[in-house]
Amino acid sequence: MTLTIPSVNMTALLPQIIIAGTALVVLMADLVLREKRALGILSFLGVAGALGAVAWLWWLGSVPSFQNMAVADHYALVVNIIILIAAGLGILLSLGYATHVTPHQGTYYALLLLAAAGMMTMGAATDLVTIFLALEILSLSLYILAGFNQADARSGEAALKYFLLGAFASAFFLYGATLVYAALGTTNLLALLTRSFRPDGPLLWVAAGLLIVGFGFKIALVPFQQWTPDVYQGAPTPVTAFMSVGTKAAAFAAFARVMIIFLPGSHSSWTYALAALAVLTMTVGNLAALRQASLKRMLAYSSIAHAGYLLVGFIAVMDGGMQAVFFYLLAYGFMNIGAFAVLVALERAGDGDVDATRARGLAARQPFLAALMALFMLSLAGIPPLAGFFGKLYVFSAAVQAGWAWLVVVGVLNSVISAYYYLGVTVGMYMQEEAAGEPVVVPARGVGLSLALTLAALGTVLLGLWSAPWLQLAARSAVAFMGG
């Protein structure tokens, strides 16, 4: 009997390995180091190192590994870049924040890094089993992170809710994956892609439905979204900022790879189902965001709405939609994390939430902070020439090209609704007096926070004025993806 030793090509997962390794180092350093801030800086360096590895792999070209269960193609690498940027910004935000949330900073940073590693693996996974594995790594880390603000009861509540519902949704995903295996005899996506004959039985369609539920939960599509506001509000703000972008990027990336299986044509049944979900998601997200007293909750509903816009581009996956989705994700990463960074600055030590009244009259007291918030709000609303505008432009134009004009009309109408609450924040900051009786907020300061704000603002502006390089990068990734 011959025993084949599986070919394990470690280089393909080098970025993930660096991140996971950093997580372990941070855990150990926590035991030795007295200066806990160093842990955050260490984590940030790990993220930077992983970005370097991504650049190297990009230069190497597509590297398969683990018997085609994961791959480091340009598609995976672009996902890695988005997630690493989100993680890096999240860590910068945590530098000042984590100290007054938890004494266990080593655990905090390690979990954040592990979640990032899980997300990155999800983008690289080419097998349903790998996807599930990655999904669980990121989910478990995030469940714990959501509950890290021990001073706030809502944080624990968020963690519990997220865990219960997340486990429920994972079960759907796993069931779907099982049915795919039952119908096709394999869970490997690359193998399925090259197979000429694909059976089209009811088993596969049930599987499709269940997989959509699994991904839809992570992306926060309506009606699988209800955990989002509670968890986003309860979780420590830097974690919310990081997961709102990272989870979406990872889930969309894996979602697209999986949906390739069910892709006989772009207008088949599953696209109609997704279109219905997109309409629901955009509309419910935006309408619910209209009347939120908490800015964190408002941004949570707004993130649901943005998931809807992303889904519009996703539906046009065969017509350059994925390129648009990636551009949108990066733009969203900068502007959304930027908005959360402003909330971090406005939070009072450990109270974990920012009421809309607290932003009133901010422009008079903190002109810089108010200007940055206005920038992020304008970009989220999709005002040119900022990143958010071009994200929407590319996503919607891909959908129009794929023949989904009516869906784009719904999206644009929704975008108009969203302008109301985004601009509402700006109006409050610039045109309203400070709420009476509200104690004056002294915004938190810190190098990490300032750096994160600056980077997010730069990204938001530059992606609008100079979108070409990133768009090309995203286009390369889409090519890699379609080529299989």
Binding site: F172, P223, F224, A273, A288, Y394, Q401, S467
Partner: protein, 640 residues
Amino acid sequence: MLIDSVWILLALPLAGATINALAGARLGRRATGWIACGAVGLTFVFAVVLFAVLAQRPAEERAVEVTLWRWISVEQLRVDVRLLWDPLSAWMALVVTSVGFLIHVYSAGYMADDARYARYFAFLNGFVFMMLLLVLSSDYILLFVGWEGVGLASYLLIGFWFDRKIAADAGKKAFLLNRIGDFGLLIAIFWLFSLVRTTHFQTLFPQASAIVSQRGAETLNIICLLMLLAATGKSAQIPLYVWLPDAMEGPTPVSALIHAATMVTAGVYMIARSWPLFALSPNALTWVAVIGAATAFLAATIALTQTDLKRILAYSTISQLGYMFLGVGVGAYASGIFHLTTHAFFKALLFLGAGSVMHALHGELDIRRMGGLREKIPTTYRTFLIGAAALAGFPLLSGFFSKDEILWLAWQRSPLLWLVGITTALLTAIYSFRVVFVPFWGDHRGGDAGKKRGKAKQTEAHGDVHESPRVMTTPLIILAVLALFGGLLGLPRLSLIEGWLEPVFHTAEKTHQALEFVFIGLSAVVALTGIYVAYRAYVADTEWPARLRAQFGWLHQLVSNKYYVDEIYTAVIANPLRDLANWFSRVTDGRIIEGLVNGLAAAIGVSGEQVRRAQTGLVGNYALSLLVGAVALVGYFLLR
């Protein structure tokens, strides 16, 4: 290649604006002023260098495009950030940066006591950046960005003293009236793109004749009329001119830079730049000429009756812009640009002179309360005199040649246009010397306290009238020299500017006839007559205007109230629109939208209430919704 670095022209003022906006408060006044003036000064020097480089090339290679990066790429819409350095844009860049630099320097003195010094210079640098973007862009979309950008800068600077309601309102008025025009430009751009799938000048213009042959002349005609609408907004022509006089509420150097020398000429520039389109739609071109002539005449008559020094100059600007439109409208693009240039010199000079007068008189602007300033502020007087003479078309000064060329070409198109033009020239000579004779000659008529203007302190009579500091008079002197000799750029028969712009406009060899010199002589006579009339009316026989007023009371009433155009606009357009908006706000917004939102909020509230009553149901509820979604999805897939 050196020309490839043309982007530096944009980077310098942008850097100045950014530094002053972010750190101006901490840098202190000296540094702020130096940064702002230095940025524009260096831009000017660099523009001169690039101009020289361009001039050394053979004439047919004098259009260089520098692509910086691709900005938008969606389906067929491809917009590059690409700058065009050709004779026209280089010329405009020189005008903008030279006048801009002088006005920056002047501002350093004029605004010295203002509390928002850094903000002022950040705006002013930002304006220069946007204006250069407008003239350097090689694409309608990028041009539109600059077009909107200068509009924004204008709004911010008109309302710079926003704590005075009148200034804030003037800013709003300017912005709103410009929006009407901008809308026209936007539709014109959309339309052009839908026809030829490009907005890039050098790809678009050669296809202009194809548009005519495929879609008929009428399509291009309407597009050109839409562009004309945009130009009437930005360049303050009939019917959208009413914002410019109010714009005088801004600081005076702003009036000089934005509302006289540069921004308001953007409309003329845009039409000249789009000449291949206008050349194929003679109908639209006629409209340009007619609107220009009508505006020139109308504004000149109003200028005669105003008593506010800056408003007289504002109406004069509208009138002179009308001349430029007339020039462009009769196909004399180079002459239009020539007049634009000389006008930039002498009108900036006049405004800065007016600012110097205000400075000396603590904000007094009513010319009836001035007088005898000749001895008290001699430098201001002499330079102002040169500016007024150039404006009046005094022989051999700059305004003389440029105006004359336009009139000569208008004659060839239609004697009627010429007649309106020459009548306007007479009126121009009269009012431009009215603002010399009344404030500067005769006896001091002031005495009672002047109106409070801006930050100016209440005047303690005009007792301590004093000349402005050197930082303000030096730009006056330089501009006076330019106003004196700028006309030499366009001497008949050896016109430098026409030769320079020839590669852009491909002007056919113009017929120079002996008749042209007769016209030049006639213009000189008209200008001198006007000056004499002004002398009689305002120096020799000061009772004469009053007698005239008594005789033509109704006419004076009509003209001095600016033909009631503002009132008509308010009654016919603004009020009905406001009522309509109120109706929408009450019914659509108040009942339907608010109702929907409140209803939804109530529904959420109710369901939340139910959830709370069930107490344990929260997570279960969420899970239920998840399950319902899953069942619906799977059910749809199976039943499809």
